[in-house]
């Protein structure tokens, strides 16, 4: 039922491909550093790695500007990094420090960075979508060409908010793109066990909206599909549903032992890691040189190392922060708690 993407779509330039690759490396190097830091006991947090899913947000963000917005989820650091969110406040945030983009109050599941369009990160499955619609409505009212992307997982396509959001976006012709990162699992539950349709993109039919199932690990296919969806949105043609098939290499949450998948399927997916594959093809097809990519990677590693050092060196927030940002005005202590008995 899912339409497949059109034949006469624009092909990516070498610069575009290298830009997508850059975002992927930034995601992967940053992810690697986060995991290493957690493993060393220096970061305490639930961590939902997106290792293996790098192509999707990299191809998406390549087509976006800083003015375009994203709403993402707990497994969303790759989406933010792809959107070129600066890494210093990201690291300070996941370390729970004052220099964090949320002053340490939100943490990894609620990272926010409006300057680069990272508007909402939610821990509630499905909840990126209804809010993305509102940002898109605001863009329409502004008369801007701004696009909003709602990221979510395959499991989220079974929750009510998905349905309400896609229907509203279609009826209101909102400039929003629903990007489903279908990694085949919702926590430990296989896609097929919870989902009544083979391709989530098929569900677009229920909303009179174009829907495409794309190989989310193929930068060319993703480039093309996103280009089309962004163009539709900017032209006022309304929303698009993109189902991007992928695989998460590191389970649901760090520490997950993957018992719910076969060794074979995991091994097969990892053997097909999009990152080295893309790199090799970039070089083989002459889009970039080995040196160029090595230099890029070194620069990114330096950026990550700097961000990590910055984040870990930042101060912890003081308890007064609990009374701030609840409302615009700081909470007076007596409306707040029985803190007078505090220690």
């Amino acid at each position: 039922m899912a339409e497949s993407s059109t034949a006469n779509a624009p092909q990516p330039s070498s610069a575009a491909l290298v830009d997508i690759y850059r975002r992927m490396v930034r995601i992967e190097r940053n992810d690697d550093a986060i995991r290493a830091t957690i493993r060393r006991g220096k970061l305490m947090m639930p961590y939902y790695s997106a290792r293996g899913q790098e192509v999707i947000p990299s191809a998406v963000s390549h087509h976006l500007t800083d003015d375009d917005k994203i709403c993402t989820i707990y497994r969303g650091i790759h989406d933010m990094v792809a959107k070129d969110m600066p890494l210093r406040p990201l690291w300070a945030e996941i370390a729970g420090r004052v220099d964090g983009t949320c002053k340490g109050k939100g943490g990894p599941m609620h990272l926010t960075h409006p300057e680069t369009g990272v508007m909402v990160t939610t821990g509630i499955v499905g909840s990126s979508m209804p809010i993305a619609n509102g940002l898109a409505w605001a863009a329409l009212l502004d008369g801007s060409k701004q696009v909003t992307v709602a990221y979510f997982g395959d499991g989220a396509s079974n929750i009510g908010a998905f349905h309400e959001s896609l229907n509203l976006a279609s009826v209101w012709k909102l400039p929003v793109i629903f990007v489903c990162q279908n990694n085949g699992f919702a926590e430990h539950t296989r896609f097929e066990k919870a989902t009544s349709v083979e391709h989530i993109a098929t569900r677009a039919i229920a909303y009179g909206m174009p829907g495409f199932t794309v190989d989310g690990n193929d930068p060319w296919a993703m480039y093309e599909a996103v280009a089309m969806a962004v163009e539709r949105a900017r032209n006022g043609d309304g929303p698009t549903l993109l189902e991007c098939k992928t695989f998460r290499f590191l389970g649901h949450v760090l520490g997950d032992d993957d018992f719910y998948m076969t060794k074979e399927e995991k091994a097969a997916a990892m053997a097909d890691d999009p990152l080295p594959k893309f790199r090799a093809r970039l070089i083989a097809e002459g889009h970039a040189t080995e040196e160029q990519l090595a230099k890029m990677q070194a620069d990114i590693e330096a950026e990550v190392a700097d961000a990590q050092a910055f984040g870990m060196a930042s101060e912890f927030p003081s308890a007064d922060e609990l009374r701030r940002d609840v409302f615009a005005t700081e909470m007076p202590p007596q409306q707040f708690s029985a803190m007078e008995f505090g220690a």
């Binding site: 917005k69 709403c71 964090g100 983009t101 949320c102 002053k103 340490g104 109050k105 939100g106 609620h110 926010t112 960075h113 409006p114 508007m119 909402v120 939610t122 821990g123 509630i124 909840s127 979508m129 209804p130 809010i131 993305a132 619609n133 509102g134 940002l135 898109a136 409505w137 605001a138 863009a139 329409l140 009212l141 502004d142 909003t148 009510g160 908010a161 309400e164 959001s165 229907n167 509203l168 009826v171 209101w172 701030r324 940002d325 609840v326 409302f327 615009a328 007596q334 409306q335």
Partner: protein, 329 residues
């Protein structure tokens, strides 16, 4: 002083919306049936807005409350001030995630980066025999939630002034319209402007007993005044207007004066919002109180359909009188 107009709460809400939308192009409206082709809202509170300001700013939605509040939040993050209608308060239960986990928390979770200046208007209240799923007063839930203000007016002037303040407020507000107050006419100044949130109103001055209340229960407390007077009891009625954050100073000042307090609301008494106020009065004025604070509220059951049961469900003026007498005894 400006001309006084006679109007009911519905008209007052409409007037607030007209003023707010005219004054600020960022104010938006969304909800089921709220544009004029659909009647401007089921009680007509939004009538005329879409005709005057356009359906791009005043949008009728599908029956999709999560999408409604989500769109309001998103538009707020995009710089607008949306007024979202959830037709009845019981339907907040289908979009509670959007209200509680998102609207109320985004400012805090983002460390102050995300403001969500939305107003959620919602109607509720017993008295119309709409039974178990259409009349619950859930202000206690929202008051318990950090990051959202809870406003519950009792009279047309407050309806207008408080709604204007909610719309302008930088934080999310839930604005509760209660059935019992909706068609009661009152005087509203032609130029009635915003009334500050968090400030109570003395609805009746008195010296013997303080009755802390809000929303529809204010009218029932006022209805008790003749009988109270007859019994020789001078009752001070404090209309909180804003349930959270509530006006602690006004309440404590009155109870310090009277030494006796009744907290009364339409919501269920058990684990209800009155408990916070009663507990706080006890904390602050333990030695001043002549008698323990009495809490009046609905019994612990769903709103019943049958008229005599619905009548028994609501706190009656007679119960207020009985409570006051017991405090004076």
């Amino acid at each position: 002083m400006s001309e006084m107009l006679k109007m009911n709460a519905i008209q007052a809400i409409n007037a607030a919306m007209m003023d707010a939308m005219a004054a600020d192009p960022k104010v938006l409206v969304l909800g089921e049936d709220i544009a004029d082709p659909e009647g401007g809202g089921v009680t007509g509170t939004m009538r005329g807005l879409s005709t005057k300001f356009g359906e791009h700013r005043v949008r009728t939605t599908p029956i999709s409350e999560q999408a409604i509040i989500g769109a309001a939040i998103g538009a707020a993050l995009g710089g607008y001030k949306p007024v979202a209608e959830i037709m009845l308060m019981n339907f907040t239960t289908v979009c509670m995630d959007m209200i509680f986990n998102h609207a109320a928390k985004l400012r805090f979770m983002s460390g102050g980066q995300s403001a969500v200046p939305i107003t959620i208007r919602t109607l509720t209240g017993a008295g119309w025999q709409t039974a178990g799923q259409h009349a619950d007063h859930l202000e206690g839930w929202f008051a318990h939630a950090a990051g959202i203000k809870v406003v519950a007016p009792s009279n047309p002037a407050d309806y207008k002034g408080l709604l204007m303040s909610c719309i302008q407020d930088p934080d999310p507000c839930i604005f509760i319209e209660s059935a019992g107050t909706l068609f009661v006419p009152g005087e509203v100044a032609a130029d009635q402007g915003p009334i500050p949130l968090g400030v109570a109103r003395v609805a009746n001055e008195g010296t013997d007993v303080t009755i802390v209340t809000w929303s529809s229960m204010v009218l029932r407390a006022q209805a008790a005044l003749p009988a109270l007077a007859e019994a020789g009891i001078s009752a001070e009625i404090i209309d909180l207007r804003t349930v959270s954050p509530w006006d602690r100073e006004a309440v404590f000042a009155s109870v310090a004066k009277t030494g006796r307090a009744i907290v009364a609301h339409e919501a269920v008494r058990n684990f209800g919002p009155g408990a916070e106020i009663a507990a706080s009065i006890n904390e602050e004025l333990f030695t001043t109180l002549k008698k323990p604070v009495i809490r009046l509220g609905a019994p612990t059951c769903p709103v019943p359909f049958s008229k005599p049961l619905e009548d028994a469900f609501l706190v009656s003026p007679a119960q207020v009188v009985a409570a006051a007498k017991s405090l004076m005894a």
